[in-house]
Subunit: 356 residues, 2 copies
């Protein structure tokens, strides 16, 4: 098989530990399915600030640009939280998204049956919940002009939210495509009763909708969506929204599944290139103890197989192995009911590899 | 007693019905406590568009400006949803907030014991939840410059989010004051890792905090707050945040209580003036049927008594009467388990008046 290049960015906190287990799984798929992967590691985030004086070193960016896909652990931690903006891990994250043109963030919010109890929602409300948030990732108020100025009432700060037709079109089209492969329902979330960017967004959705007659579209105001996610999560299939709203709603959606430690995400650009990472953060409080849950990162490899490489059989094998291990009752500390029986990061990785 | 002037704005949908019951309660407090209220009604929202060609007629604004407080039902409905911006009810809402200088929106998210079951959250998670969202209401991306322009990639839309130091100070101070009268915990919500306005916001909070040494402050990122509201709602006391985040989070917080049909809100300016309204909307689907729940509007009168008039005894009498009626098992259709036993809008109002 063709050699696929994967840039591996362990990052900070528990990042290196969980990525280590994902690499075991990757290796196992080479044995089982005859794939060939070439992995190379790069520095990114806090560790890159410490070692290279910048969260996104040029060589890491080039490594990613030459790769077919990127596997990212997690970045950030209290150590860098009070740094000036250019020396903060988040700045690297925003930078890599922009530099790699990753305009679309795909966040499945899946309920794992064995973790349903971990949700703060009633099980009967969660029943059937299986949604994907498609978040625009390189536009909006995140990347618009920001500055301070002197105003009539003292200093003022300004952020600018900008969207052009083309930026909205490409993300909306992608969301329609995804909805078409699923339950064929698309909720477009905006604040069209207040924002001009939302009115543009809604116009584009309405213009594109007739190209996807099989997909049913509803427009939901962002405040209402924050409520409906709580009231009727299972009624959503695909949610598409702009950057800032997507940041908030994808986290709300992830949390309500009760499975936040298990969720993976993809950030995609044009073509098949993508960056894959767990939804959870760098968890500095438990870093280095060998107790972090590697499942979200392992499932990010499965997502990479599906979305970038089209290796569906192998993706299924990984997902089935995870399910098998969980069904057999194995748990890391974060998801264990009886913490004394919890297995560590490496043991969980080994169990999943063995189950493949 | 001094005569207090209340501008009454029934609005659209179920607005007139629920306001009607609140006026019965107001009258009852005159009898019981010897207060004197002078009420005058004004047109606002959809009905004002129909009758006056504008959602906020000048005479309604003047009526409010001459009043000590405003009682609002609800505005909006599908009839006006596709109108141009100047002829939409929301435009009136934004206009009245700005014109009356209502910079602070106070939204208590209270759990009614008898409605705990109505929440989609597990009862043990909700236990002890009693929080207030203090939302900045006349600044930020709601009121910044908005426009379209031709860009390199076709048409683009722009919204501007602006905050000055003074705008942040006054809302933050108010939130500290409120927290001081409660459990003395303030969560300031922002997106300081991305937005310049959030960095300004956080600076102001940190500068003011030492003036309120008894209040414990935490900074919470907005995406994290959307999650924590689900995970540990009872750990919040007062949440203060900017306009757009407040719109989203206050609705999420309201929904998780399960009591959304029962929640009241206050929009305050300088001094004691305030506008009071139920959190729920105009519910056009059930308008005119005499089945709407008037409790949120009745409790808005109690909130007016507390925050604008300092009539604490009467406020307590209203709140106790509501509790009494609910404890006795009376329910409107929206909150009834057995819908066949539900009482109508007027019957609920009468029961509460009788219980006072
Ligand atoms: C760290 C932060 C800048 C980032 C964002 O807001 O996009 C994070 O919350 C995320 O969702 O990936
Ligand atoms: C109708 C709309 C403009 C309004 C807002 O976003 O402020 C509403 O959602 C609210 O919260 O009062």
């Amino acid at each position: 098989a063709e050699v696929k290049k994967i840039a591996v960015i362990p990052g900070d906190g528990i990042g290196p530990e969980v990525v280590g287990e994902a690499l075991k799984v990757l290796k196992k798929t080479e044995e089982l399915f005859g794939y060939q992967f070439e992995t190379e590691q790069g520095l990114f985030g806090g560790i890159a600030i410490d070692e290279k004086g910048t969260p996104l070193p040029q060589e890491t960016l080039e490594l990613c640009q030459k790769a077919d896909a990127v596997l990212l652990g997690a970045v950030g931690g209290p150590k860098w939280d009070s740094n000036p903006k250019e020396l903060r891990p988040e700045t690297g994250l925003l930078g890599i998204r922009k530099a790699l043109g990753l305009f679309s963030n795909i966040r499945p919010a899946t309920v794992f049956d064995c973790l349903k109890e971990a949700s703060t929602l009633k099980p009967e409300v969660l029943e059937g919940t299986d949604l994907i948030v498609v978040r625009e990732l390189t536009g909006g108020i995140y990347f618009g002009e920001k500055f301070r100025r002197e105003g009539a009432n003292g200093q003022e700060a300004v952020d600018t939210c900008v969207y052009n037709v083309q930026e909205v079109e490409r993300i909306v089209r992608q969301a329609f495509e995804i909805a078409g492969t699923r339950r064929k329902k698309l909720a477009s979330v905006d604040k069209a009763n207040v924002l001009e960017t939302s009115r543009l967004w809604r116009e584009v959705v309405n213009r594109i909708a007739p190209e996807y007659p099989e997909v049913e579209v509803e427009h939901v105001l962002v405040d209402n969506c924050a409520m409906q996610l709580l009231r009727r999560p299972s009624s959503f299939d695909v949610i598409v929204t702009e950057n800032m709203f997507g940041d908030i709603l994808s986290d709300e959606a992830a949390m309500l599944t009760g499975s936040i430690g298990m969720l993976s995400s993809a950030s995609l650009g044009e073509g098949s290139f993508g960056l894959y990472e767990p939804v959870h953060g760098s968890a500095p409080d438990i870093a280095g103890q060998g107790i972090a849950n590697p499942i979200a990162t392992i499932l990010s490899v499965a997502l990479m197989f599906r979305l970038t490489f089209g290796y569906h059989e192998a993706a299924q094998a990984i997902e089935d192995a995870v399910k098998h291990v969980l069904d057999a009752g194995h748990r890391t500390g974060d998801i264990a009911v009886d913490k004394s029986k919890a297995v560590g990061t490496a043991a969980m990785g080994d169990l999943i590899v063995a189950a493949m």
